[in-house]
Amino acid sequence: MNMTLRKRGTGMRLTAVLLAAVMVATACGSDSDDTSPSATTVATETTEAPEAPETTTAPTTEAPATTATPTTTTEAPPVGPAQGGDASVGLEAEAPGLRPWEDTCSSPCYNMMAAVFDKLFEQYADGSYGPFLAESISANDDFTVWTMNLRPDVVFHDGSELTAQTIVDMFVVHQTGAQSAGVIASSKLINVEATGDLEVTYTLSGTNAIFVANLSRAPIGMVFAPSTGADEDAVTAAANAPIGTGPFMVDSRDVDNKTVMVRNPNYWMSDSFGTQLPYLDSVTFHPIPDEGTRLSSLASGTVTAMQSLRQASIRDARDTEGLWLFEHQGNNTGGGMFNVTVAPYDDARVRKGLITMSNQAATIEALGGEGISLPTTQLFASESPFYSEAIAAAYPTHDMAAGAALVQEYIDDPDRSDGLAVGEKISVTLSCPPDPTLIAAMQVSQVLWEASGLVDVELTGFDQATHIGMAVGAADGTFIGTHDIHCWRWGSEDDPAAGMLSGFGDPFDPSGAGALNFSNWYDEEAYGYVVEATLTDDVAERAALYEKFGLIMVEAMPIYFSGGTATVIATAEGLGGLDSWEMPDGEAGIGHPSAEGRWGQAYWAAE
């Protein structure tokens, strides 16, 4: 797990930023320097941090001051963090609503959702899944029937009890939710039954060995009071007045300004010292879209924490005095894709040739990630149990001659797919949203590709909604898209199966198996490995299958990478707990991937 707590003592400097346009605030917020959404899901991180990139100042790791370690038996027993205090968090974007089944949500929004709603399962620090609101889960031999037991004595913010019937009633709402309907289908869930007061039985239409991963994320893993989805009025009201079981309750919500959440006095969870959670009396979320002013707000004390998915903000935060930084770089990575239904990208020689000519280090530098982002070669970070050394070795390194040779081979092919004459240069179009760092990164590729003398490169840019729409394409059953070479983002901390099944499925399959296959690349053998990986929960077996898939994909090169996504939650000195939150059994939780903080266990360290 690559998370470091940094405390900086260097002087402040004036930051002058020319603001061209503001990124979309779609509840998506902006997923950093490349576009969202992630097409694939990835599980797990180990507790061992990878080697951090070279930085100008040495990082320091500081333990929370309130946790004392006794040295003799006559000393007082250890105590956990104290209760009290308020936090205010600057987020990249506002959440359009707080309805897990209905509203689009990404990193900024999940900070809010996780404060209000508990999940049935959460991830441990190593990325494996453990019960949270649930107490246990088991499956039959073919993973088509799952039996879950809920934790007793859990109440919602409105005082109603969490029972098995609650989960059944949630399923009714899920089936028509804008966000949940698709997940219900992709998880193969067909029925939910209350087989006891606290026992729930899920029935799936087919094998899904990692169904528990679906219960660890929104929309179907987040537990909400079903009454909030009962009718149209309730659904409308729930956007701003959600009811969950989480550590905080919404006290007031002024959309686009601030959402104030106060401690849930009846929260079911205590820490391992017996202190009832949450520690904080309240947490207020402020959407502050501009990166510079978000950091300024933190530095000036207007807010006490902020989150960001931009390397430039991480760099500036490192240079700002008096902050604690909770940085993370997991599976999510920037990069792009080729639309393999369009010539000349339908030829693997062109794809691989272009990427072999590319220079990931230079691209990372152009993106402002030097010393912050790590180079990537696959969908999994080096700490992931699914990371493959073989794939890392197979991923092309910068080699102008080798790349040019591949492209030349295509150009000299009398049957070249673009219909141009033998010897004519290929023409490519590279598109990213009009962010200055993305434009700089595109220019790196343009310079390298054109330097070969074999490629004419056109650069284009559209706002994020259009950019995504071009890749998604029309809902005519095929979702081919109208893009060429398109900036994109890959990977997440979720289990890889959920995203890879639709991310690499057949885009022409009328059932929608390839709905997230934006590159339109489909290989039957490779996909077979992805499907096989959902039939077992053995991590080593799955890793071997993903490696086989990845080696085929590296040869075909439908997607490429341009450095891991570094994220940060920066706090005022003293506000900690974001990297040390615990699961109910006292084991460490996964921390703060993608700058999603678990504010229910944040605390102010005693001076």
Partner: protein
């Protein structure tokens, strides 16, 4: 007067129709489907579900039918619901209007408070060093983009001095002192350029007025210069200023988007920008038409103020 108002009302209705139709047309020509913003791709292969959403939001109807339906509802005050948040558009506008209006009015108020004396002084001391200094300062302030000024103000007053918050908004109903603190920096950012414009406008008109015979008469009578300037010269010199201020108020209601985004203020401008990026077409439509209504209404008020300020115009009407 009645006839003037009737004519203005007809113009208002015509303007609303033209603006609303053109907005509707342009929004529909934008690339991107609102369904993409609302529903993740993996859910879109559920054709029945997508169709249901399309029916719910009227996305399957022909454009003119949708426009007619919208117009029919708008007449009754129903501007529809946001595709993204499912909240009523009219409710969003009323919730955000006080914020943008306060920001605009405070900015203009500050600008006038500074610009009128400066412009008057500049005209009074025409050609002298004071006049040249004021003109030069006006030129410099005009050339500084308001968001750059905003960043400088944040650095100085929020980060360095920690006197004022860097971002956010406290509503007047929540706390008067909090509201004042939250409006100062964004209003100043907007006001600087306006100060420059108003100063030059006042100076220009004042110079003309000061050359009138009645001003000479007033001087001959022995009246003090200050009295002449503010009692006799300022009023007839303010007609252009009133026009410019009226245009500015309308422009600011819809044009504060950059400052609202920079300072994270939940105003109309920011909501409109978000709606454009989200392809939230009903929100775009609603806010645009509302701003058009405000614009035309304010200009009508400007014409009425003209009559109150200048009896010559009142007599003509």
């Amino acid at each position: 007067m009645g006839k003037m108002l009737a004519v203005r009302l007809v113009r208002l209705v015509a303007t609303i129709l033209v603006v609303s139709f053109l907005t509707f047309l342009m929004v529909n020509l934008l690339p991107g489907d609102p369904i993409n913003a609302l529903v993740p791709p993996e859910a879109q292969n559920n054709q029945e579900f997508v169709e249901q959403l399309r029916e719910e939001f009227g996305l399957n109807d022909p454009m003119m039918v949708r426009y007619a339906n919208w117009l029919g509802d708008a007449v009754t005050g129903d501007l529809g619901k946001s595709v993204i948040t499912s909240q009523p558009v009219a409710g969003e506008i009323w919730r955000r209007l006080p914020i943008t209006a306060e920001l605009a009015l405070v900015a203009i108020g500050f600008s006038l408070f500074v610009a009128i004396p400066l412009g008057t002084l500049s005209a009074y001391k025409q050609g002298k060093r004071v006049d040249q200094s004021i003109s030069a300062a006006a030129q410099v302030s005009l050339s500084i983009p308001n968001f750059v000024l905003g960043l400088l103000l944040i650095y100085v007053f929020a980060m360095r001095l920690q006197w004022l918050p860097a971002t956010g908004w406290t509503r007047l109903t929540e706390s008067v002192s909090g509201n004042i603190k939250s409006v100062i920096l964004p209003a100043l950012s907007l006001a600087l350029a306006e100060v420059a414009v108003y100063t030059r406008v006042v100076r220009s008109d004042m110079i003309s007025t000061l050359q009138e015979d009645y001003i000479l008469s007033a001087r001959a009578k022995g009246l003090k210069d200050r009295f002449i300037l503010f009692r006799h010269a300022l009023r007839p010199s303010s007609l252009t200023l009133i026009t410019v201020v009226g245009l500015n108020v309308g422009a600011l209601i819809g044009g504060t988007v950059v400052i609202e985004t920079l300072f994270a203020i939940p105003g109309l401008g920011k909501r409109l920008l978000d709606a454009v990026f989200q392809r939230d077409f009903l929100m775009i439509q609603g806010i645009t038409v509302f701003v058009a209504v405000v614009y035309v209404t304010i200009n009508t008020l400007v014409d009425i103020i003209y009559m109150l300020v200048d009896p010559r115009i009142r007599k003509k009407v």
